[in-house]
Amino acid sequence: MKFLDEYRDGALARGLVDRIRATATRSWTLMEVCGGQTHTIVRQGIDEVLEGVVEMIHGPGCPVCVTPLEQIDKALLLAQRPDVIFTSFGDMLRVPGSTCDLLQVRARGGTVRIVYSPLDALELARRHPDREVVFFAVGFETTAPANAMAVWRARELGIGNFSVLVSHVTVPPAITAVLEAPDARVQGFLAAGHVCTVMGWEEYEPIAERYRVPIVVTGFEPVDILEGILMAVKQLEAGRYDVENQYIRAVQRQGTVPARNLVERVFTLVDRTWRGLGVIPASGLGLREEFAEFDAERRFGLGSMHVSEPEACQAGAVLSGRIKPPACAAFGTACTPDHPLGAPMVSSEGACAAYYQYGRLWVGSRPAGPSRLDVRDQSLSAVQGEGEGSP
């Protein structure tokens, strides 16, 4: 695939690794914001090959992971209603709520459908006028234009049996929250490339300035991430703290203006709870009053619910970068993708899932957490892994 595959070129990637190692005179700590970037880093072993030079802290850029338990429970409530066709992106279906997940609701007879695009959900509503179609609108700013368009079109075309359960969050307040935390260690950021494709990077300039941290808008393929890291390290070595753009092929400073405009027309900034991080003011998007009829929470009269997180789940510490997943006592034991305690273990973007699935035969220079082999299926004979394989 053009504009994708060439950014997976191994030789180019290795050259960038060399450059990073040659440029750094000391070790640096960076945070990549987006879960998709986290997955590339862990899957490709980028953190492994940069050990000692760059430490990547995995940020809260997994919209699925930061969706509060309360919202999941609301989704489950709606999905159980016989008059509702509940639609969602695939990512949300395995995220555990307080009692079960959407797939189990489906197993018990709820109508839960995976869609590729919110417009598909709208089309479902058009085709099933006798049912209420609810779309679970989860995401960062990247997905907001799509959801905004779906709501806008619903009104334009008079599709009355369509509504959205909104759980949108925005990135800059999260970055600020990370920087404001008392034990903040992050010295530079890789900003989320596709969020910036929509929003541009203007809003990151004041953050870079105020906290004196370089912010590099970065793509998602290995070459993109390594180039972004190199650009950040160069800035840090030179004592600079600018916003730079690595993802030039897709991002411009002003973003995609028509998309920003419609998002602003349909949504407004609201305070949002980030799972594990608490309430961050003005960090979410909610439907404007004018579009209230399309807000599923209003349409179905869902008040606020108070739900408590499983105690053992340290999603918040993981999402804010304070710990790496294997440092959580439940990682790989009480919490695995088969029986997750929290979203980061289930979501394809989650740091915990990335560590578990792509595995750490290596974490730092020592094995951390239980050996992957110890927690596997009991039908395997027990083997003691040293944590350092030689594949």
């Binding site: 990247t142 596709h194 995609t256």
Partner: protein, 105 residues
Amino acid sequence: MCLGIPGRVVDLRDDQGLLMGTIDFGGVQRDVCFEYLAGDIKAGDYAIVHVGFAISRIDEQEARRTYEALREMSQLDELEWLREVAEAGIGLGTTGDDGTKASAP
């Protein structure tokens, strides 16, 4: 948020006032909404698509230019690299290099 992939615009059309079209991802095609790129997109262009929406047009020239620069950088000989480092005003890392090419293995 992240799964935006590049594809080639095959055709564009109006669908009840919305700009829609077909995009080709390396042999797999899908209908996609191009409304956000209206006026700035035509068949043959490349765009980034996320959940059925084209969210930006790929600047092919820029992409080519920066990619070539990347390739060259990874093949630069030692002298050129040293010069670039000096110009950028950053310190030399202790690489343990023995003077051979600082490029990809």
